[in-house]
């Protein structure tokens, strides 16, 4: 029987927590040499040691609480930002999520080694239980790291998607009863949906007779994009507005024809100005010069 048992009933939980607390400095020194810390804190080694210590402190809390298999354990909260920042830095350096997770898992070696040395005189079952406990704790740490990386990636994507939606779909009133949407960039399903809804809402709000979809800024057109354009045109027509597509560039016109997309039911004009002229015409309006000179062919339409 060891001294440990005399003080209190032995538990792997207490044993691992004690080790992490007592050997905090030693563990942090060893962790600081691992690629995970070394490559993130490049300026001074002290910084890396300090970061490693804070991770070790968090692990002490979790180990003592006994919730080593719970990634929501409160002890991990303090380390989540730390781990998140390090993992983000590692992914920016071009490492895959799997590689970063592997680097986090490498923290286990130092702990297990020290633990084995510490419990050299203890019963075998104690050794096993403690090592298992420590391994579980560090596996959970790895999960926390992966979850943090995943969440951050997801947040970034959501933020950018939101930004894209915001900048991409203004509906402009060109004249009474004439609205236009200049489409820019790549059209995917989600964006096309937003464009469609915005345009249709604008048709109701502005009582528009003519809606113009300007695709001058659209880089490429594939069958899916064409499908969305056709749907928008059909919906606008059902609502009682005529939809005109303008700004189809020669290269895109060629693609559309080569893909065999039938746009014959859709009114098209080469430029937005042409479409506006057509819309004014339909509304019985005419553009007139005030100085009495005749309107040149280019200006009349």
């Amino acid at each position: 029987m060891s001294d440990l048992d005399a003080a209190a009933p032995w538990s792997p939980q207490q044993s691992v927590a004690d080790l992490l607390r007592q050997r905090r400095e030693q563990i942090a020194q060893r962790w600081a040499d691992l690629p995970l810390f070394r490559s993130v804190f490049t300026v001074t080694r002290d910084e890396a040691v300090e970061a490693a210590q804070s991770v070790a402190d968090a692990l002490v809390v979790v180990a003592a609480s006994g919730r080593v298999d719970d990634i929501e354990a409160s002890g991990f909260d303090s380390v989540r930002t730390q781990i998140g920042r390090m993992s983000a830095a590692r992914s920016r350096a071009g490492l895959s999520v799997g590689r970063v997770a592997g680097e986090v898992a490498a923290l286990k070696d130092a702990v297990v080694e020290l633990l084995t040395a510490e419990l050299a005189g203890a019963p075998v079952e104690h050794q096993h239980a403690a090592v298992l406990y420590a391994a579980e704790l560090l596996s959970t740490l790895r999960l926390v790291a992966m979850q943090t990386m995943f969440n951050e990636g997801q947040e970034l994507i959501n933020r950018q998607r939101q930004q894209l939606m915001e900048v991409a779909t203004p509906v402009i009133k060109l004249w009474h009863g004439v609205v236009a949407v200049p489409l820019i960039g790549t059209l995917d399903s989600a964006r096309s949906q937003v464009v469609m809804e915005n345009l249709l809402d604008a048709i109701v709000a502005q009582q528009a007779r003519v809606a113009i979809l300007d695709v001058t800024g659209v880089a490429t057109v594939d069958t899916l994009v064409a499908q969305h354009l056709l749907k928008t045109v059909a919906s606008a027509r059902l609502m009682g507005a005529e939809c005109i597509i303008t700004g189809i560039r020669p290269a895109i016109a060629q693609t559309i024809v080569q893909l065999g997309i039938d746009l014959s039911d859709v009114a098209t004009r080469s430029t937005l100005a042409d479409a506006l002229g057509y819309a004014l015409d339909q509304g019985g309006l005419q553009v007139r010069r005030t100085d009495g000179r005749t309107v040149s062919a280019g200006e009349s339409r």
Partner: protein
């Protein structure tokens, strides 16, 4: 259940659909419209669906059928004030209804039918006011 108000305005019949239009009601709508077209020898039918916020493929077909029947009886049909969500649903269902004529407001529809509406623009249709809301 009341019948649909089919309001004769000059040569044109004005039909306003209020509330949900379920299948049995849709059939009744078709009957009342075609009967009224025949009795009044109307030249045009304007169906205001700005109050309809849900459709299925059946209603889409009914609208197209009313237009078809009316045409046989000598009247053109214009559907007015369709909501965006309704239009999107119909298109997603594959019902682009190419033979159906549409307009944004009753005034526009009258222009499509080639008749002058004896009503001023400001009070022209429920679609106007509802649309602006």
């Amino acid at each position: 259940m009341s019948d649909f108000p089919v309001i004769p305005v000059g040569d044109v019949l004005l039909v306003s659909i209020q509330g949900e239009l379920h299948d049995a009601l849709a059939v009744r709508l078709q009957e009342s419209v075609t009967t009224a077209v025949q009795r009044r020898s109307a030249r045009g039918v304007i169906i205001d669906i700005s109050a309809v916020d849900m459709v299925d493929s059946y209603l889409g077909r009914i609208l197209a059928e009313i237009a078809g029947c009316s045409r046989l009886l000598g009247a053109d049909t214009v559907v007015v004030g369709m909501r965006p969500a309704v239009a999107i649903t119909l298109v997603e269902l594959g019902l682009t209804l190419p033979e159906l004529r549409t307009a944004r407001t009753v005034t526009d529809a009258a222009a499509v039918l080639g008749v002058a509406m004896p009503i001023t623009d400001t009070a022209s249709s429920g679609a106007d006011r509802r649309g602006a809301r």
